[in-house]
Symmetry: C2
Subunit: 91 residues, 2 copies
């Protein structure tokens, strides 16, 4: 690990990619801080994607099965964490 | 903690307590493996509670704001991860 204070950006060998989609809402920020960024960097390299700022990636999230944000995608598994906004509302 | 091999039970100094409530359902097991047990042990000491086997703790979960399982509780924050079963169904 480097000296970054954010442990969620580790990309050491052996980590799996995880993607956390959010839209900046309070529910999203809480889930980002408490869950997505708290995943063990030895296990996951987490990419944080703000769909409000990256509308072009909404279709990517949708293709993965994301129905609402915040959501954490790991491989084929989608974990919707509470409910902030539907994906449709971000299009 | 005992000699379990799962890294989610670390209890080194500085960790916060997190509680993952589930009921053994497929949705629960996926969330347990991919999220709850993947939290950085440097950050959280995660207790896994099977409410089917510990019905006495359903009221504890309810008091914390858990509406359904699987759910991860960290401090005052409740993160419902997808939907496996309502808490009412476990009473």
């Amino acid at each position: 690990m480097s000296s970054t204070t954010n442990t969620a950006t580790a990309n050491s060998a052996g980590t799996q990619k995880a993607t956390f989609y959010h839209a900046g809402c309070p529910v999203c920020i809480s889930a980002e801080e408490r869950v997505a960024r708290a995943l063990d960097p030895k296990t996951y390299a987490v990419e944080i994607v703000h769909l409000g700022d990256n509308k072009v990636r909404v279709s990517e999230a949708e293709a993965k099965g994301v129905k609402s944000v915040p959501a954490l995608v790991i491989g084929d598994d989608v974990f919707h964490v509470n409910f902030g906004a539907s994906l449709d509302a971000l299009k």
